[in-house]
């Protein structure tokens, strides 16, 4: 491991100033459960690590009439332990509560999960399905990017050197909506997704028809995939086995997996289809309350 400087600023302004000094030889540190692993494995040679956990704005969780704001450094356990979030955003809790084990979840957060940009990031599909937005700061000001456009490849994001994720903004879910996420892993815990599917559905007042849906896939492409055709196919359709199977087949078509030590192309495509069906049903169940 290359020796690096450790800095722990207390404002966003100081943090982005520090980051901009080092270009791509500095990285923000949230829970560190990805960063430290990579630094030790010499994936990166860093000159500085900028700890964000002393910046109050990045450690705050806010839930109000307009939606949910998750500070970039908030650890997973604070997300899933919050009963309001659990009630209104169960899809996010599905993801946050399976990242690693208890120890990992007490450090790791959704911000780090997003910025790490693993195609298998379990926290990300629900954020895409729920149309969440990333708030980004740099010495030049702030900007917003939809989560579905945030990750651009394995370990690659839209963040430029010197930019910092401040928070993830999730709009308030509409009435009669529900969301769910699951992944397939060969073991029962502490594993990496062979395929993952996050689903958001909005039903009409009767609860019998879909108004809209968004489906996001993990681990079946170089980055996370918004399966638009699959989600759109449900809009205006009745909730039944046929429409759900059709959407699941479209999700399968949207997947572009590879064969590697975690699974084959065939297996992953099949898993996407099976999990999509299961998650649509679960999201519908939640939407109906």
């Amino acid at each position: 491991m290359h020796p690096f400087a450790y800095v722990a600023p207390s404002t966003v302004a100081e943090a982005v100033a520090e980051l901009s000094k080092h270009g791509d030889r500095a990285r923000p540190l949230a829970g560190g459960t990805d960063l430290l692993v990579k630094a030790r494995a010499n994936v990166w040679e860093l000159d500085a690590v900028v700890d964000i956990k002393n910046i109050p704005e990045l450690m705050t969780l806010t839930i109000n009439g307009s939606g949910l704001s998750i500070g970039a450094g908030v650890p997973c356990y604070q997300v899933y332990d919050n009963s309001e979030i659990a009630a209104q955003y169960p899809g996010i809790v599905d993801g946050a509560s399976i990242i690693g084990g208890i120890q990992i979840q007490s450090r790791a957060g959704l911000g780090g999960n997003l910025c790490n940009a693993a195609p298998s990031g379990d926290g990300i599909p629900s954020l895409i399905a729920l149309s969440a937005v990333a708030k980004i700061a740099s010495v030049n000001g702030t900007r917003e990017v939809a989560i579905e456009n945030f990750c651009t490849g394995p370990s690659r994001t839209v963040l430029k050197a010197g930019e910092l994720l401040v928070s993830i903004e999730v709009p308030k879910p509409a009435a009669n909506s529900g969301a769910a996420y699951t992944r397939f892993i060969p073991r029962n815990e502490m594993d990496i997704a062979v395929a993952g599917v996050g689903v958001f559905v909005q039903l009409d007042a009767s609860g019998k028809n879909f108004e809209s849906a968004r489906i996001a896939l993990a681990s079946v492409g170089p980055t996370l995939i918004l399966a638009s055709a699959a989600g759109d196919s449900l809009a205006g359709k009745p909730v039944n086995d046929e429409t759900i199977a059709a959407a699941s087949a479209l999700a399968r078509d949207a997947a572009t997996p590879i064969t590697d030590m975690r699974g084959t192309i065939e297996q992953r495509k099949q898993l996407v289809e099976v999990l999509t069906g299961r998650m649509i049903n679960k999201a519908v169940e939640r939407a109906r309350g």
Binding site: M1, H2, P3, N42, F184, P186, R187, N188, E189, M190, D191, I192, V194, D260, M261, R262, G263, T264, E266, Q267, Q270, L271, V274
Partner: protein
């Protein structure tokens, strides 16, 4: 004449479950493991490793690394003593110093990915890592082979050009085949031709790793007197000393090995890796040197167990009696010879009485790490093939697989696949116990919607070794006893040793304080392995305790001024044969020893043949999700003949641990190799061993048929339980989905494919 013993039942200590003597230190983090060893002036070393699986080293330039600030010493293959080609028995497998030395540090050629080409000692680990990146190695990359089929092709790249292969006794050169052996008995061709039912199948298995939690490590000093001291995590301080001295070309008495506590080994910590390198770096730097391996290197460079290709054919008559069996097995040795085809031949047919048998085994070099023993090395592989074939034979003919095994069970006088005739064995008792077990008699239950269930059984066998062990005892004035023994303690053995002593002396298990000795504080003791430890070292403890009784009788004779022959010892108490009311307890006597001749010590040592044959039978219930191929083991039982269970909890632990490892091997574990010879999954993330959430509570049935060759009837138990799980699960999968898998791992992907 080998001594034999009548079984006893009226034990006081044997068969109880005292808490382990090392328990508190281990759960509170006080126990000293290899990585905890710190010496004044200690420096750290790391290896520079080959990124290629097979390449010639054209040049190595270490000058920039040597100039790096904080670096004390750099070594390459040129610094390794040129070890001679000499075969030495390490208890569970042999070692040839020539290959063993080359495995630790490449000379002119790298033979597997991760093969060390240099090692660097520096002020701390990170400085050593930084300097290591400055070593410039020029490679000429050669084509590599990573499976036995490719390795034996005519145009295969030759891994060790100077190796002479042994093909049924004939020398062969320019080959990757290190050995081909054959055992044939009876009229195999005739019996197979007239069999009413036959089955013939090919089975393939990938390499798997022992997966011990503590990586390899070593701390070494080489002083001005040329005395070498090593602290290391090893399964045997003395066999480690033999290897270190052999590789460094010094007398064994120059090397002192202190075994630290050990975080698992399963056979993988019998070979040495870092010890000689740390010693040479210490000699060069004049400092103590420490090395601790990273997990990737543990996977890429330390002993996995062989991957295998196997073809098994069975023949049976119309009445369900096995008449003939043949097996052709090719095992991956890794980059040096030695793939455990011998044990495979000993084990493959052992649970059965088969009049006509043949086995041909090939030991094949591939560009992968040299294999090391892993719990019953060679036996789980052949058990997968044999026990799958037996079940398939039964399915085709409509026979019940448990009754078939009972009808064909091996017994006293049965000839094993390698020709050895069994003495008294417990296979039939194990089968009967299985038939009567709660699990076998319980229905499997209905699967939830979308899932199916299946049950499978399989047997397994390991022969268990004996070998050499030593123990010393000394009485303390407070009535306790110090026990020093030579077996490094992996699975609670020091408590079992203390229990042997306590039983003889009539004192409590915690009145004996056991210590694992270093190579200068105890007599020669072989590895903790081969399922020998409780048997052989326990036996040595029993002898030492009886010798101590003898010493103490002399002291009692002085005390009472009578003849030693008139002193009796029973249940922890000495008495006079002449005057029955004259008695003195062990503890009271201990307090008087100062006036009766001073310290009372004793010693015991053994060199034994075998710890008795170990047979087991497992039952596995599996549940499979038909849509995803995901499986869960929902119930699991291990039945085994364990001789006498000295500490039943540790015996159960061995059965459970072996089962857990076998389940992992069956379902998910594998060396997933890329075409360029790189292992793609060299981390615990992608090398999927089962977690506690992946296993049910493993039920055990201890069948106690005392071993007449041990004073308390102990039999080896640790290795047999890894043999049945793989075929038991294959048979359960077949029961659940009606499809048989012939390759490991039998993961969700392969199940899904079979369902298509």
């Amino acid at each position: 004449m080998v001594a034999t013993f009548e079984p006893k039942t009226d034990y006081k200590v044997v068969g109880t479950r005292p808490i382990r003597h090392d328990g508190y230190d281990k759960v509170t983090g006080r126990a000293i493991y290899g990585a905890d060893v710190k010496l004044p002036g200690l420096i750290w070393a790391v290896c520079v490793r080959s990124p290629h699986a097979h390449a010639n080293i054209k040049s190595i330039d270490t000058s920039a690394a040597e100039a790096h600030e904080g670096v004390f010493a750099v070594i390459t293959g040129a610094d390794m003593p040129k070890a001679e080609s000499k075969l030495v028995d390490l208890g569970e497998g042999n070692i040839n110093f020539k290959w063993a030395s080359n495995k630790l540090m490449a000379d002119k050629k790298v033979l597997y990915r991760g093969h060390p080409v240099a090692a660097i000692a520096a002020i701390d680990r990170y400085t050593a890592e930084e300097a290591a990146r400055k070593v410039v190695v020029e490679y000429e990359v050669l084509p590599s082979v990573t499976n036995v089929v490719d390795a034996l092709k005519d145009d295969a790249p030759i891994i060790l050009p100077d190796m002479v292969g042994d093909d049924l006794g004939e020398d062969v050169t320019n080959t990757n085949m290190a050995a081909h052996v054959r055992h044939e008995f009876g009229d195999v061709a005739g019996a197979m031709a007239s069999a009413a039912h036959t089955v013939e199948r090919e089975y393939n298995m990938q390499m798997v790793h022992q997966g011990y939690i503590e990586p390899q490590n070593a701390t070494a000093t080489w002083d001005e007197e040329d005395r070498i001291k090593i602290w290391t995590s090893t399964q045997g301080a003395f066999p480690a000393r033999t290897q270190i001295a052999g590789i460094l070309q010094v007398d064994v008495s120059r090397v002192k090995v202190t075994p630290t506590e050990i975080g698992g080994g399963f056979g993988g910590k019998i070979p040495v890796y870092f010890e000689p390198l740390a010693a040479i770096l210490s000699k060069k730097s004049q400092r103590p040197v420490k090395m601790v391996m990273e997990r990737t290197a543990v996977f890429e460079t330390t002993g996995p167990t062989p991957g295998a290709r196997m073809i098994v054919k069975l023949g049976a008559d119309a009445n369900g009696k096995l008449t003939a069996a043949t097996a052709d097995i090719w095992f991956e040795a890794g980059a040096n010879p030695g793939a455990f085809i011998g044990p495979a031949a000993m084990c493959i047919y052992a649970p059965y009485e088969i009049p006509n048998t043949r086995i041909d085994g090939w030991d094949v070099l591939v560009n992968k790490p040299k294999v090391a023993p892993y719990r019953a090395p060679g036996s789980p592989q052949v058990a997968f093939a044999m026990e799958s074939a037996v079940n398939e034979l039964c399915e085709n003919a409509g026979w019940d697989p448990l009754n078939f095994r009972i009808d064909n069970a091996s017994k006293e006088g049965t000839r094993r696949g390698d020709g050895v005739l069994f003495s008294k064995i417990g296979m039939q008792e194990v089968l009967e116990a299985t038939k009567e077990s709660a699990h076998w008699n319980a229905p499997i239950g209905d699967a939830p919607e979308g899932k199916v269930r299946g049950r499978g059984i399989a047997s397994g066998y390991w022969f268990n070794i004996g070998l050499k062990s030593s123990a010393n005892l000394a009485v303390n004035s407070d009535g306790t006893v110090q026990l020093t023994e030579g077996s490094t303690d992996i699975g609670g053995s020091r408590t079992s040793m203390a229990m042997h002593v306590a039983e003889v002396l009539g004192i409590g298990a915690h009145d004996v304080r056991p210590t694992v000795g270093d190579t200068e504080s105890i007599g020669y003791t072989d590895v903790t392995g081969g399922s020998r430890t409780t048997y052989a070292t326990g036996y040595a403890c029993w002898i030492a305790a009886n010798n101590l009784v003898d010493v103490l009788k002399e002291r009692v004779a002085v005390l009472w001024d009578i003849n030693k022959d008139d002193v009796e010892f029973n249940d922890g108490s000495f008495s006079s044969k002449a005057e029955a009311q004259k008695t003195i307890g062990f503890k009271e006597l201990a307090g008087k020893l100062d006036d009766l001749g001073g310290p009372a010590n004793s010693t015991g040592s053994v060199d034994l043949e075998s710890a008795g044959d170990g047979f087991g039978m497992h039952i596995a219930d599996i549940e499979i999700d038909l849509a995803t191929g995901k499986s869960d083991i929902i119930r699991y039982t291990a039945v085994q003949d364990v001789g006498t269970a000295i500490h039943p909890a540790y015996v159960e632990g061995q059965l459970q641990g072996g089962s857990a490892q076998g389940i992992g091997w069956a379902l998910n574990e594998e060396y997933y190799m890329q075409d360029d010879g790189k292992m793609a999954n060299s981390s615990f993330l992608d090398y999927r061993m089962p977690t506690t959430l992946d296993l049910p509570l493993i039920e055990t049935v201890l069948v106690e048929v005392p071993n007449p060759l041990h004073p308390y009837g102990v039999r080896g138990v640790g290795e047999t339980p890894i043999c049945p799980p793989i075929p038991a699960i294959a048979n359960a999968i077949n029961d659940a989905i009606g499809k048989r898998l012939y390759n490991t791992p039998m993961n969700a992907g392969s199940i899904l494919k079979a369902l298509k």
